[in-house]
């Protein structure tokens, strides 16, 4: 399979980030994605971009750092990395992120405490830029050979690579004659569900199923939205492609109970499996896993908000990712297979002005998937009455 990279580039540039003439465009990615980066850059220049700047993160360099650096210097990040992100906001730039690991498992033999002390590739200034809504941005998956071999370990390398491209093509709707028209309709449906859910004015959500009994408190002004945003300058964009979720900001002090994660979590180069988290008064107080849970525990110590939730998201069974049954080991894809919550920072646009002081604040944002067709979601109003929201993957509202 030789995919038409210009088709992927056009979706990312013209619809996802919606690059405007005269904009600076940032592309962030890992090595091994050069061909896709070049196709996107060329499409951005054809769309009138003023400059395309690529930020590369190489996990091999993180490995060398974690192996050899003094512990006290592991948290250091030079000033231009955060400044570049702030400048992108000031310049009202467009941003395109290419997801998918280039070297999965590369850090899995290293000390998780040391891995967590080096914050990169996470750049905390990105939280401000997202919340300021100064940049039109999208994240879209891009295959690498090592990633394909992780997802399809039983296939020969070339077949695995082709299979990954084929599934991504499908979930991105690039196999549709008009992918943009398809996405506009899907986002229309999700936006209308989100509006009905917001109108219910729920006090909390209740997730219940095998290994999970979790209550997530909401704020009085929690606003549900689909992954469609508009910048302060009025540029519509789709921050995630694919996206099947609706999401909001929970009350960071009112999550309690236990959630068993239904997908592995790839974090700092490690794949965390069999993850189970117990919450008390909004904080994660216990992390259990089959493998590498200590990496998550280290991230949750980053700051006061790191062990609290900044996002709760619902995903129905109509998306294309869940039915594939594929574990992609990539948050963008796996989070859109299933309902999820995120540790760390909230999206400011998902709460009203009166609750901006209450939403969670943190340098991290880590999505963990707790949904599946076996997990039912019920809404509870302040007076204790219940509303069925998602049952067996189907919207009940």
């Amino acid at each position: 399979m030789s995919p038409d990279l210009d088709r992927l580039a056009a979706l990312a540039v013209r619809f996802g980030a919606n690059v405007q003439p005269g904009q600076v465009v940032s592309i962030s990615c890992e090595p091994g994605k050069e061909e896709v980066v070049r196709a996107i850059a060329a499409e951005a220049y054809r769309a009138g971009a003023k400059f395309v700047d690529v930020s590369w993160f190489d996990p091999h360099l993180k490995r060398a750092r974690v192996l050899h650096s003094d512990e006290e210097s592991l948290g250091y990040v030079p000033p231009w990395i955060g400044q570049r992100m702030l400048d992108l906001g000031e310049l009202r730039a467009a941003r395109i992120g290419l997801t998918g690991p280039s070297a999965p498992g590369l850090l899995s033999d290293l000390d998780p405490v040391r891995i967590g002390k080096d914050p990169l590739p996470f750049v905390p200034e990105a939280v401000k830029v997202v919340n300021d809504q100064t940049t039109n941005w999208t994240a879209i998956p891009c295959p690498t050979l090592p990633w394909a071999q992780l997802v399809f370990p039983d296939l020969p390398a070339d077949e695995a690579f082709a299979a990954l491209w084929e599934q991504l093509w499908h979930v991105l709707r690039l196999d549709e004659e008009d992918p943009v028209a398809f996405w506009k309709e899907r986002f229309g449906t999700l936006t209308s569900v989100a509006e009905r859910l917001t109108a219910l004015q729920l006090d909390r959500l209740h997730f219940r199923g095998p290994g999970t009994d979790l209550t997530v408190g909401l704020l009085p002004s929690s606003k549900w939205i689909a992954a469609q945003m508009t910048t302060v300058g009025g540029i519509d964009h789709a921050p995630n492609l694919p996206s099947e979720e609706i999401f909001t900001a929970p009350d960071p002090e009112r999550t309690s109970g236990t959630a068993t994660m239904t997908r592995p979590l790839v974090l700092g180069g490690s794949s965390i499996t069999g993850l189970k988290v117990r919450f008390e008064n909004g904080r994660a107080v216990e992390v259990i896993s089959e493998e590498h849970g200590a990496v998550l525990e280290e991230y949750l110590k980053r700051d006061e908000g790191a062990a609290r939730l900044g996002e709760v998201a619902l995903v129905d069974g109509q998306g294309r990712i869940g039915p594939l049954g594929t574990v992609f080991y990539d948050t963008l894809l796996d989070e859109n297979a299933a309902s999820h919550v995120a540790f760390g920072s909230a999206y400011a646009m998902t709460a009203g002005p009166g609750d901006q002081e209450k939403i969670n604040v943190s340098q991290i944002h880590i999505d963990v998937m707790l949904g599946s067709p076996e997990i039912d979601v019920t809404g509870v109003r302040a007076d204790g009455t219940e509303v069925e929201i998602l049952t067996a993957g189907v919207w009940q509202i």
Copy 2:
């Protein structure tokens, strides 16, 4: 051939840049050099680096920009690129540049005027950082397959790649048991020639041979040095590996005559061949070439100093590059095969305090090679007496 990348990395980190514990280290390079970058980063962290940051320049993105961008935006560079360079100086960082093209000829079908309007990969703030002597730095070659095929067009790809590695290994003295000891001796010899040449207090140099009759005026305080420098903080480093030259700052108003270049000049992705330049009163007033001379002409219009000389350098026949007879299409290597001059900025440390206002200032620095064993170099004192400097590639002083 499977070269020992750790050996190359050790030369670059421990001797070339001379990385100190606690330093931030910048590596700059083009795609296709990932394995060498990783070896250098690991060695830098083993040497105690606080952080290793890689700056990638992809000529494919420059091609897309030159093809599609509005002409008025081609000169734009986002603020973080220059700021990063200034920050490296402020932080007293180490810098390692990997030379050698990753995609030679990629821009050769494009409009040279448009190519020249996009200044990258040149970052003018680097001139300030070099002259401030705040960073310990080195430039060292790193093979790519397309580069090898350019240098050895008659060999199969894998043999060309092996041949390029072998020649680089040789000129870097990595085939010596103790390359660092070798370099220390070679730099010792060149430094002693440089000191004798400075002591001669010449008024001007005269280059004479086939197609060349060029007089380069010197300043009263022009100081000859080998490519060994010391930062303001006292860190010795070798800015070029390999290096066979001694060089100084000429008088930017007193070069006249004609020089025929003895090596192709690779500039902005184009290879300029058959280049001949005529000077009047220090300015290049005529550029003739077989191919792509217009690219150089565009650079020479960049600013007032761009068409004047900032460097004159002498190379003897004892180096290892000249005798190979290989045209590397890489300035670092080709300039060290032969005596050369450079358009644009001068190195402040090659003139005394009294002449700092007189040395050439420009945003560009482009070396062009005019030397060969057939070009003799004579020094002329203010009273008109002559001193033979280089005859048939042998020092006469």
